[in-house]
Amino acid sequence: MTVPVPAWFDDLTDAIDTEEAEYRVCSACDAAVLPPRQCCPECGDTAFDTHPLPDRGTLRSFTEIYVTIPAFHGETPYTVALVEFDGRLTLTGQLRGASAEEVAIGDDVTVGTERRDEGARLVAFRPVA
């Protein structure tokens, strides 16, 4: 089922594109969170400090997808990665500029976005040359 992309995700990906993205860290327990959380999932606190999202992170894990969902029909194989920033915040996106065979856990990647059909936005990672 196609549903509209939430405004908060549009805002996040817009900010990633202009290198102005931020994430929040719980003032009470230091847990890092992404939009649209209103309370800390670790301790329930509602006060946060804001930190800039770095333009590069490290590969936490990745997988090359062969069986997909209709929205990505015909695009297999493609690689989905978990990338960690500042050692405490992880984003999910697709790997660009390299195949799964060419990367390893711990590799450095940059983060950007791609616009897909119907306005959906993809988080895209590229290996640091």
């Binding site: 089922m1 549903v3 992309v5 939430p6 995700f9 969170v33 992404l34 999932p41 936490r60 894990s61 990745f62 997988t63 090359e64 997808i65 062969y66 069986v67 997909t68 969902i69 209709p70 929205a71 990505f72 029909h73 695009e75 194989p77 493609y78 989905v80 978990l82 992880t90 984003l91 999910t92 996106g93 697709q94 799964a100 856990i105 959906a120 936005r121 993809l122 988080v123």
Partner: protein, 384 residues
Amino acid sequence: MVSIASAASTAYDTRPDTTSRELFAEAAAEAFADAALDPPDVDIVYAGNFMGDLLEDQGHMGALVADHVGCREAASVRVESACASGGAAVREAVHAIEAGAADVALAGGVEVMSIADIEHVTDALANAADEVYENEQGLTFPGIYALMARRYLHEFDATREDLAAVSVKNHANAVDNPLAQFRKELSVEEVLASKPIATPLVLYDACPISDGASVVLLVSDEFAAERGLDASVSVLGTGQSSDAVALQDRASITRTPAAERAAREAYADAGITPDDVDVLEVHDCFTIAEVLALEALGFYDRGEGVRGAVEGETALGGDLPVNPSGGLLGKGHPVGATGAGQVVELTKQLRGEHPNQVAGADVALAHNVGGSGASTTVTILGGG
């Protein structure tokens, strides 16, 4: 104490010509006949179902199946906790009886999946994940477990061959289970040679797409005594916990803390320790999932869970038989039914009636997972 008057499953298989109401009624009819109970005896029906509204275009599954098993006047509710819906339904029923709100509860689950093609089933299963941060990025459910598996192989001394050993064991167990979908032995080589679905996981690291239903008739001890029922298998304890739905929101992706918490609660509720457990049915939707389950439930230290299948400790004749039914890998995984199906299999074990009987089994544990661990139930049974 809450006891099990009877428990029954349909065969798990692909039955694309059938519907959830038929499958649930088929399982329930067997349970009523076995327990010498009648549908009007039931006070409440809990129906686990994950994707009826997505694949069958049918919501409101609680009332629908209640009506089709002859319990039209009972209270009814659909329980949805993704692939832990069946386990959660059983737990709700236990609580209703413990609270004195019901004497007889019919708890079960049902799923019809094979009516859709593989991409639409994969899409429906993906509803258990984070729509924005995961599905919109092209991540699939096999992909989520693949991310966990790759990280596990990176952090610990384990190999793809070790994971394949889980699949080999569970497929071997399924051969003699007449209710199992995939009754064929596989070798490690055959598992590894199957086609990739999400690297490093291949087809035989994954459970099949299945249709089926399982039900458990739970009764209060007072009701069992009053009616002279043979309800010698009892629920000793249950536990349930949640976790972040998105994998990216977890501090570790090689641990399943909801299972750790659910297990702690269930062990305390039952007054037992892992050493007391004789047989387990765990949620092996993928090979890596059984490994993580055995670590979370306290049977192996972190990074050691692969030893169970590799060294034979979790084989049918081993010290700790795990998934003698064939598990999700061999028996099949009609997602909403699975948690109740585990309780059906373990009830047979405790009654000494299982085709893969574990000798002298007195205490049994079921572990049922929704999503990649964001919902987990643990049910401990005893007696027989």
